[in-house]
Subunit: 336 residues, 2 copies
DNA sequence: CCGGTTTACTAAATCGGTTTAGTAAATGAA
DNA sequence: TTCATTTACTAAACCGATTTAGTAAACCGG
């Protein structure tokens, strides 16, 4: 015998399916107290659980949204996802998180899958490699919000960090502490945050009259970061300070330091873009640039829900400031 | 104008819905090559995407399973989830991860939500507080696999670690390194892994003829761990070694050490139950007990899929060994 | 006590697919 | 040439809800 359906409840309570449906949707005006009690009893007795699929099919809404993160290993993605989930739970909706693993193919697959499942909207950390798909969603007016990364040539609601300003202030902090040979290491410049972080870097050096040394700008894939760092430290004048472009690059820097027996904070100063949960346990405690992950998640969720509810919203970027949290790894330069 | 449906495609291709459905399900024997091409063209032209809700409603399967983790902050849960996802993706199915946040109410809500969404089965890290619900699912023969924690009095497929043996070997390692005053710290003894870890602890001490000191057994909520540790270290004979019962307790131990200016590995030896991603960056590198997360995920997924496919499976526990990874934090005892 | 309103319902259509049973035309064997 | 089989489809029922339009009975004011 299959699961109990609304029809079973209706029969048991001696009413029609319609009335049971009204009951479930709490439209009690449409029935007598007596009927209401009988339906309640029947539901109880049969241990009836409604089938959301059927409901969603008819209502054309699933009360579910999708989140596609580019890389679940980033602390930032996790924090944003959590925030989005909280927001939607408050609004009696659900959020499904998928990990595109930085792979445009996977991203595409997930977008298609989630849309086939009829989720009401998507928050995407875009790989930015699926321009046609993004464009199409916008054209169809399917509810989407982009997060963290701007998609070129696309007028779409996007929530980002103020990367240029944040990087600028980190570099300024280095300079204020006497550093001049400052390096930056990020993954390849394929997405806007990385490009902007390099931009902020150059701007700060320039504003302080420090000549930009292209050798000090690393932008390569994770597996090559250590090799590049090695190259830097072979120079006659190696960097005295490094900005690690995100938490994953940070790990590489740590491993590099360990292998080469360099002391973070002693051999070179370090600032990391991104919050590190272990920031004050690693030795020494590391200076970080914290993004407003929770607020950004809320904002994105809010923009998405407004679209779902057919409210008008601005179709461009909203940016959030970052906070430089100074710990021991970026102390004043000792020797010149 | 709404989304394109199968009916639109059928009309455009000049065939019936049935034939389009056959096409989508790749049952090409049922149509001429000519028809096939016309349907293909129509789908393309209309940019048609099938609606999974409708399909699932009729087929009574969603090709989706749910994973309910007790606490997403545990590295172990994340690894297992990832493994389960990989497994189901290989089988053309999807996995949805939900976080019960150690809250039985949330767990209940998620079980109900996922079942209402008609997921084909569930993998649960149970809070063990919803016995009636678990029992009911087993009785209904709804596909479920429990993970990490045994539910008392329930004959259900369950995948767990060999906690007693693993803890035993960690304590033996301490003893072999000259420690006798060994403490264990876990969260409250409400679920089987914690109980078993205390059990393995006692067994190892007993086997080595060391008297068990109940004061050295901490089992309290996270926010009280530090207070208890403080109590321990106020003793005339404080512990020289500590086993942290999981990665979250580990953080507390680290914070405690930091606050009290104690040196991990010097002031006391430390082993952590659970893999720590930063294990070799914290100072000193910390000895851990690694669970076979990936294999456990695969096994659970396999047991679940078999149930979904109505294959017969054993309705009891499968246990996996752990590995003691010795690093610097559990070095030989120096002073007596 | 008559016509209109309110109350308390129900029947049937609908959502967008899948699936079953059936059919007309073409092919093939005797 | 005729009957059986195969080929290439289609109509309609179905999955389990929601929702719209409709109705019978009770109520009610004049």
């Amino acid at each position: 015998m299959g699961k109990t359906t609304m029809a079973d409840v209706a029969k048991k309570a001696g009413v029609s399916k319609s009335t049971v449906s009204q009951f479930l949707n709490e439209r009690y005006e449409y029935m007598s107290p007596d009927t209401r009690i009988r339906i309640e009893a029947a539901i109880d007795e049969l241990n009836y659980q409604p089938n959301y699929l059927a409901r969603s099919l008819k209502q054309k809404r699933t009360s579910t949204v999708g989140i596609i993160v580019a890389n679940i290993m980033h602390q930032f993605s996790t924090e944003v996802s959590r925030s989005v989930e909280d927001y939607f739970n408050k609004h009696n909706m659900h959020a499904i998180v998928c990990n595109a693993d930085n792979d445009p193919e996977k991203e595409k697959k997930y977008i298609e899958m989630l849309r086939a499942k009829q989720v009401d909207g998507l928050i995407i950390f875009p790989t930015a490699q699926n321009a046609d798909i993004y464009k199409n969603m916008i054209k169809e007016e399917y509810p989407v919000v982009f997060m963290d990364r701007k998609v070129p040539d696309l007028q779409a609601p996007t929530v980002v960090s103020q990367n240029i300003e944040a990087t600028y202030s980190a570099i300024q902090h280095f300079i204020d502490n006497g550093h001049e040979r400052i390096a930056i290491a990020t993954e390849p410049l394929t997405i806007s945050p990385r490009i902007e972080r390099h931009e902020g870097y150059k701007k700060a050096l320039h504003a302080n009259g420090i000549k930009i040394n292209p050798e000090f700008q690393i932008s390569t894939s994770i597996d090559k970061i250590k090799k590049e760092l090695d190259r830097l430290f072979q120079l006659d004048a190696p960097p005295t300070a490094i900005l690690a472009g995100n938490d994953i690059v940070f790990i590489e820097v740590l491993e590099f330091a360990k292998e080469k027996k360099l002391e973070v904070g002693e051999s070179f100063a370090l600032v990391v873009f991104d919050n590190i949960p272990f920031a004050h346990f690693v030795h020494p405690p590391v200076t970080t640039i914290a993004q407003s992950a929770y607020m950004m998640g809320e904002k994105a969720a809010d923009l998405l829900l407004k679209q779902i509810n057919k409210e008008q919203i601005d179709r461009h970027e909203v940016s959030f400031p970052c906070e430089l949290i100074i710990r021991d790894s970026s102390k004043r330069l000792k020797e010149k």
